[in-house]
Structure formats: C-alpha cells, structure tokens
Homo-oligomer: 310 residues x 2
C-alpha cells in the first residue's frame, strides 16, 4: 500500500512536509480513510487532546517535545489496556502562521514516540486554530483487554517507574525556576509503558490504568470501576529523584501526567521489574470503596485530583 | 460489554450527562480504551476536526447542529471509502463555562447522525478550550475500500444529490441575510452518503471521494491521485434549488461542504438513483491531468479551491 499522490496547494505542501518528516512511519497519507492492517487480538481505540496553554506551554517545551508529549499521552492509554500499538491518527490544529517546518517539527516528536513503541501514522487532519492543539486517536490490539474494573479485595496494588517527576517540573516552571533536567524529561518526554503493560497483562493483572491525573485521583477511578477500596502506603510510593524532601510521597501521589501504570495483581505476585521498568507494590485492594492514603499507619486526607475544568 | 462505573467529580458529571444524552448509542463510556467490535471486511479510519469560527458559527447554527455537522462531515469520509459505520471517538473541546446541558446538546447532534448511519460512540475525550471544537475519529468496515486513485480514462464522472446548498447558506449568512431553509439544512444537517457509497462500490466504482472542499477542487485531488484528467460539464452539475439564477453550475462547483459523493464509474454505467439518492453524470475521465470545467463546449477558468489556511 502506497500513499496517494497529493494535489497542488499550500495545504498539501504542509501535508507533504509532514510526510517527509515521518518517512516510513507515515506510509499512507492523502486518502479519505486509512486502512487498518489486519492482525490478531482485540482491536482497541482511544482519543486524547493536548492543548497549548492547558496541557503544555511552548515557553516550557519545544514544538517537537509538544508533539512527542501529545502522542505519548495518547499511546499511554494503549499501555493501560495491555495492548500493542497498531497506529495513530493525528488531528493537528496549528496557528494560521505556522510554517511547514514547524509542523514537521511537531510531527517528528510524534514519530519519535512511534519509533520506541511501534506503530505508524495512519492518518490525520490539519486545521488552523489560534494556538497549537492536537487530538491523537490511537489504535492497538490486545490479547486480553485490561480495564479499570476487575480488581479484587486481596490484590496487591503496584506502580511502574517513579512518580512526581512531571509535577516537579511543573512546580519549577510555575515558580519561575528552571526544572531539574530529569524532571523536565519526565514532563516533556514521558515513556508510554507499552511493553510493561503487555507484560503485566500476561502476568495476570486484574485491573490497570495509566496515571494521567495523579495516583490519588486515578486510584479512585480504578476503585470506583472495580467496586472496591484501595489503600496506598505513601511511604512505599516510588518517588522521582527530582522531588524535594518535604512530603515526598504525598507530592508524588498528587502529581499528574507521569503516564506510569497502576496495576492490581494477585497477592502472590512479587517481582520488581516489568519489561525493564521498575515495579513497586504500594498498597492493597480491600473490600469497600474509595481510596485511603496511609502514612505510618495513619490515614491522611485525600488531595483533590487534577481537573482541567476546575 | 457494559460501561465502567465513573468516579466522582465535575468532569465525570459532564461525562455522565453525555452518556445520558446518547443512551444506547454510547454503550461503553469510562475506560481508557474502547473495544472495537469484530466484523467482516477491511477496517478503515479517518479523523476530522471542526472548529467554531473556522468551520461553523454558533450565531448561524445551534450547538446540536454543530455536533451533528461535525459528526456528519467525519462520517462522510467512510461513505467515500464505500464503508459501513462501526463507530466514532469524539474529542470535544468546550469553553470552560459550558454546562453539562450544552455538552449533552452537542452530543445529541452526534447521536442523530449515528441513528441515521448506524454505529455507536466508542469513546471520547473532554477538554476545556476557548471555543467549541471537536475532532471526530471514525471507524468503518469496507468489503472493498474505495480510494481517490483507480479512475481510468473513459470512466464516467458522477455525483450524488445536488450541489451548492451549503455554499448558498454561507453566502446568505456572510451577507447578513437569513438563508433559505433548504440551504440552511444543507449546511447544518448534511447527510453522510453511507448507503450510496456502499451501493456505488458494489456497482463497480473505480474511484470515489466526498465533496468537502468543492467539486472543482476535489475533482482535482481525485485526478491527481488517479493520474488522469477530469472534464466536467457545468451545465450537467445538479444544482441545489436554493442557488440563485446567475452562474448556477459554477457556483455549485465552487461550493464546499456539501458532503455529496464524487464517483468514477465504467462508461457503461447508467443509473439515476444510488440507494435513494439522485445520481447525475457530470463528466468524463480523460487521459492527461487536472480538471477542465466546460460550459457550452468551452473551457472556463478554474476557481480556486476552498482552503482553511488561505
């Protein structure tokens, strides 16, 4: 399958520059519909919007990083489903004055994610807007689709990687400071945990989701979907090294946009590595409802979840 | 498959109001990924963005009509592929002050399209923006995927329905007039030609696309993709009754956003109805390249295509 020839005109010049930036990652640009390759497993899909000024600022990160981050946050939903990546459709809205080079830069960021996760750009749309925004729709296939529902009382509660890095970068920027390079990297280039998600699914995970709103809030979503309670020991939460000394566990639990995985696994499960990513047990599934954060055996008040509408 | 239970919070109140507006058209709201139902045929996908102030204005049409129009223009790409509708993912950006009722109204418009075309809302995303916009990703299945490429010299060039209605409404609004109700309907509630697209595919169409930029420009895209020339007789173009007396064929040929189908069919094809929609032969595929518009046997200059970036 090869791409259609494109007609003349400035819109097609922009599409051509995107196709050139992506190379073999965009095999089929130019027709009304993309063909989804056949494959085994259940097909899953998700869609995710990133808006300049809401989800990122271009005085914080580059256009290429904004494209990377938009694609990574969308693909992270496939990791949460235990799926592998088939491809994405990228609807990009760029300011009217955006150059083909700027669009190509944005799409190079998207391409960098796909190079690490697999998958191709299946299609897209390009519109003019007041600022940069993108809606990325992801398609994947899962041998068993992981959901937020399915956790049982007695399961262990686990997270991949370390939490709070993206929030540490955000705190630095909003305070007018330059973030620690490792914190900045957590915000600008989160790594979708595709391999870890498939590994956890294969090891018998009962429920899973990715951490986009923050551990405390997201655990509440998983608890609601599974109709269980979740207890999290803040002293066990793996904290990103860029997070300062005070209230490290709570800071990390409130931090959104880490795109690590939250997984429930049978109580017998005990490993410390998921496909190359560190794995930490942070608590337990219990009968009941809601989330309890514990420190030194005492319950501490729940922070409110990050809410773009608040 | 049933929907996940949703956690508390205002974002989920909004999602709940959307789910209530859609009823059985949204069977599975609340998880990270939607599961795409199995089925026969090749899976195809497309994504399409509609932005307030660029693609529509809320002093022209209602929020429900804006939702309808966004979904219809996206689903029209499936009609062009000769596909049936599996479902859509709707990423909606609403102003921060938008009420759950306004979001529900928008989604009722989306639901009205799906009631006529088939398919369900598979998933979505909700963000805050400065104005209303939506990216709709559509998934469909085709027994044979129609493309813009594939037309041969000697084929007839056909269109469904009547052209120019949406443009007549736009002209009235921008001149400060109230459009003719039938023209307004063409703009606010275009009908995706799903049944006609499948019918034309089954009757041996060689190339197909939907008319979103206008016949003259879109025929140029099809000609470029198929590496052929296209001659269109303006006196044969079926003109919407709301279009005024002067230069009717040219007005209709320049009019975008009719979402009728442009199809190439073998020269022997001769029917006047495609699954309940009128069908008109307007020209021929010829060797060469580009589009020639003819009136009374004479070539007339090509109008420039509608371009959101211009």
């Amino acid at each position: 399958m090869t791409g259609s020839r494109l007609g003349p005109g400035p819109e097609f010049d922009r599409i051509r520059s995107i196709a050139a930036a992506l190379g073999p990652l965009a095999p089929n640009i130019g027709d009304d519909c993309a063909v989804i390759p056949d494959g085994t497993g259940t097909l899953v899909a998700s869609t995710d919007t990133s808006v300049e000024g809401v989800h990122f600022r271009l005085d914080w990160i580059s256009l290429e990083e904004a494209g990377y981050r938009a694609a990574a946050s969308a693909i992270s939903d496939l990791a949460a489903a235990g799926a592998r990546v088939v491809g994405i459709l990228a609807a990009v809205s760029a300011p009217a004055g955006a150059s083909p080079e700027e669009l190509a830069s944005w799409m190079r960021g998207v391409g960098a994610v796909l190079e690490s996760t697999g998958g191709v750009v299946l299609g897209g749309d390009l519109t003019a807007g007041e600022r940069w925004s993108a809606t990325i729709t992801v398609l994947g296939r899962a041998d068993r689709v992981m959901r937020r529902s399915g956790a049982h009382a007695g399961d262990g509660v686990w997270v991949t990687g370390k939490l709070g890095g993206a929030r540490a970068a955000l705190h630095a920027w909003t305070a007018g400071r330059t973030p620690d390079p490792a914190a900045r990297e957590s915000f600008a280039r989160p790594v979708p945990r595709i391999a870890a998600g498939m590994w956890l699914m294969q090891r018998g995970a009962t429920a899973m989701m990715d951490l986009s709103d923050g551990l405390a809030g997201d655990a509440g979503h998983l608890a609601a979907a599974s109709e269980v309670g979740i207890e999290i020991d803040l002293e066990r939460v793996p904290v990103h090294p860029s997070v300062g000394a005070l209230d490290r566990g709570l800071f990390a639990a409130r931090g959104g946009e880490d795109y690590e995985l939250l997984a429930c696994l049978p109580s017998s499960f005990a490993e410390s590595d998921a496909a190359g990513v560190s794995l930490t047990r942070i608590g337990s599934v219990v009968a009941g409802q809601g989330v309890r954060l514990l420190r030194g055996g005492k319950t501490i008040p729940l922070p409110s979840s990050y809410n773009h509408f608040a």
